[in-house]
Symmetry: C2
Subunit: 204 residues, 2 copies
């Protein structure tokens, strides 16, 4: 019997390293795929429809909104971005886990939908001092934008209570290992073992 | 800061191997102890108070019942057996995990108290045929008692929905490994990481 997959919401402050963690995790698991966003912005060179994004017209996107087909959406710089439910549902039914790497506000919108099969993970940095160090290391941020990002990070940390798990990203391989552990444990949840138990009961 | 421990309820049908699993698990973790039962039965040769059981007079035991000091209790063959809350609370506060290895009925009584910090695990056998084989292997069971045990096991399996996790005991080392995984994941639950997050927020 095919076990349904889980929808893994992975979020955390900008600079927490969630993108790097997700790429590493995906390279180590063939039972897990990344959710692809829909957007109305134009494809950049090399970007493929259905690989990097689902590219939509504004009209198409607004139809998705009206039909409730999006788990969450937002508008940035005049373009829509959102998470279509249908491809995720197809993967879950097929027994694949789906990772939704998403910023903190979007993550909360998805959690508000109270879907089943969701496992939510908040990635935290070891300290705000460390976050500041990482932002400075990029060399692309102004003093003002560093200040601003730290303020946002502090607020986002205060929203961690919305998540099932908190994973510390002190070192990427350790953080990835912690997520493997969470996925293994979650696959033993009663709800995911119910069919197994029913088989044991019914096949004397 | 000392993290509170978790109370791990470990139950499952007779013959599921929970006793063997617990002994192996305890030998591999120094952050985890076994809960000790209270009883009114007399100590057998070699049994020590506070090690194998807390030995109580009937009067003492009934005082524990009245004061609500027991997480669960039952009477077998004219003797009381029960789980005192106070030593467990002391260990949890000290950051130790406590394993409560208990039969299915007792486990439900503990879960009915809806304590915080509880992680409940149901150990299942791969099949009832395999359970029958294990019971026959003991060589001490009559046909009638084997029939009876299988019937009880089937009923107990139908109560697995009360537990957070289901762990398959196909091989003891694998089952032990699965429980380590659950404990690791549970230590990353938001409730157990809250103090960490608060420290990150407050120590700029």
């Amino acid at each position: 019997m095919n076990k349904r997959g889980m929808l893994i919401i992975l979020s955390g402050p900008s600079g927490s390293g969630k993108g790097t963690i997700v790429q590493q995790l995906l390279s180590e698991r063939d039972d897990t795929v990344l959710s692809i966003s829909a957007t109305t912005r134009s494809p950049r060179t090399g970007e493929q429809d259905g690989v990097h994004y689902y590219f939509k017209t504004r009209e198409e996107f607004e139809k998705l909104i009206e039909s409730g087909e999006l788990l969450e959406y937002a508008e940035y710089n005049g373009n829509y971005y959102g998470t279509p439910a249908e491809p995720i549902e197809r993967y879950l039914a097929d027994g694949k886990n789906v990772i939704l790497e998403i910023e903190v506000q979007g993550a909360e919108k998805v959690m508000d939908r109270q879907q089943p099969d969701v496992v939510s993970i908040f990635i935290t940095i070891p300290s705000l001092t460390e976050l500041e160090r990482r932002l400075r290391q990029r060399g692309t941020e102004t003093e003002d934008s560093i200040e601003q990002r730290l303020k946002i990070a502090r607020h986002e940390l205060s929203r961690a209570f919305r998540y099932d798990y908190v994973v510390l990203n002190d070192e990427v391989p350790l953080a990835v290992e912690r997520i493997h552990t969470i996925i293994s444990a979650e696959s033993m949840r009663y709800s995911r073992m119910e069919n197994y138990i029913l088989e044991v009961i019914n096949n004397a």
